[in-house]
């Protein structure tokens, strides 16, 4: 046995059979007021349906948004994973770069050091004449000069004006 409210709801929704409809409408005290209320209920239903439909669309968008976010999170996670996987390659690359840079710095420093040292080493390779003198009484016009032939690394003490001697002095 349906209650009045159930019958009323079914009447508003148009779900009463012909017999039930006739009985229910006959039982209504003010059919015109009921019809007006039914019309309002339909309007309200249409409105709710429309609004609920829009709400459903919003939910879908929200759902899509959630999915997108999740995809984005998963993508980030994957790229992080990828980052972890390639980290050895980056380490080797960094090592190579560091090694190359260190070698370059070493070469630059070595060149500077060699440049600084070079004159000293050159002078060490060559014989140096510290001083020279001739007897001014024996050779009053004698002059002395000195030079080095860097190609042959020969150091020469060159005298001019020494007393000339006869060829007999060439004897062994």
């Amino acid at each position: 046995m349906k209650t009045f409210e159930e019958k009323w709801t079914a009447w508003l929704d148009g779900r009463l059979s012909d017999k039930e409809l006739a009985e229910f409408e006959a039982s209504l005290p003010d059919k015109a007021a009921a019809e007006a209320e039914k019309t309002e209920a339909k309007k309200l239903g249409a409105l709710l349906k429309r609004e609920l439909g829009a709400q459903a669309l919003l939910n879908e968008e929200f759902f899509n948004h959630q999915i997108r976010e999740r995809i984005a999170r998963e993508s980030t996670g994957e790229s992080r994973k990828r980052g972890v996987e390639v980290s050895p390659w980056w380490t080797i690359r960094r090592l190579l770069w560091t090694g190359t840079a260190s070698l370059a710095v070493f070469l630059v420093m070595a060149i500077f050091v060699m440049r600084d040292k070079d004159p000293v080493e050159q002078s060490q390779y060559l014989t140096q004449i510290l001083n020279a003198r001739v007897d001014p009484v024996v050779s009053p016009n004698a002059t002395i000069s000195m030079f080095e032939t860097t190609e042959d690394r020969v150091t020469v003490l060159w005298t001019e004006g020494l007393q000339s001697l006869p060829s007999d002095y060439a004897a062994k």
């Binding site: 140096q128 510290l130 003198r133 007897d135 042959d152 690394r153 020969v154 003490l157 005298t159």
Partner: protein, 146 residues
């Protein structure tokens, strides 16, 4: 790292050994008469190393040794004499440095001092001194670390 260290130590040992082996070095001192002759004699073996600079610098084609001395240097304090009939070259070593030997050289004509010089003789660089004119030639003093 450890391998590099071992290599470095080995290299240092080789270097130090080479330095020790180099300890006693021979210094050749020669009195040389340079002349221009029609048929020059071959250059003495002691001068082969500096034949070209000798010829280029002094313009002679023959070089003959008239007196020489070969002295091993151990302490760097040795002294010696290279003599010919009339000339004497007295060499007095006054110490050894990384670059070579500090030498005092005196050239005598009989007992007369003609020339005196102090030089730092390098192991890789011969010393040539132009002495007096002798006849048509020239007296040269040559010192070489052999």
């Amino acid at each position: 790292m450890a391998r590099s260290l071992v290599l470095f130590v080995a290299f240092a040992l080789v270097l130090s050994t080479a330095t020790e082996l180099r300890g006693a070095e021979m210094v050749w001192s020669g009195l040389v008469i340079a002349e221009n002759v029609e048929q020059p004699q071959p250059i003495p073996p002691e001068l082969t190393r500096i034949e070209q600079p000798l010829k280029h610098l002094f313009g002679y084609n023959q070089f003959q040794v008239i007196g020489q001395s070969r002295k091993p240097l151990k302490t760097g304090q040795e002294d010696w004499l290279a003599t010919s009939k009339f000339f004497g070259l007295h060499v007095n070593a006054r110490g050894e440095s990384e670059a070579g030997y500090v030498l005092n050289l005196k050239l005598y004509k009989e007992k007369e001092l003609l020339l005196e010089t102090d030089a730092k003789l390098s192991r890789r660089s011969p010393l040539v001194i132009k002495g007096p004119q002798v006849g048509s030639g020239q007296l040269l003093l040559v010192l070489v670390v052999q």
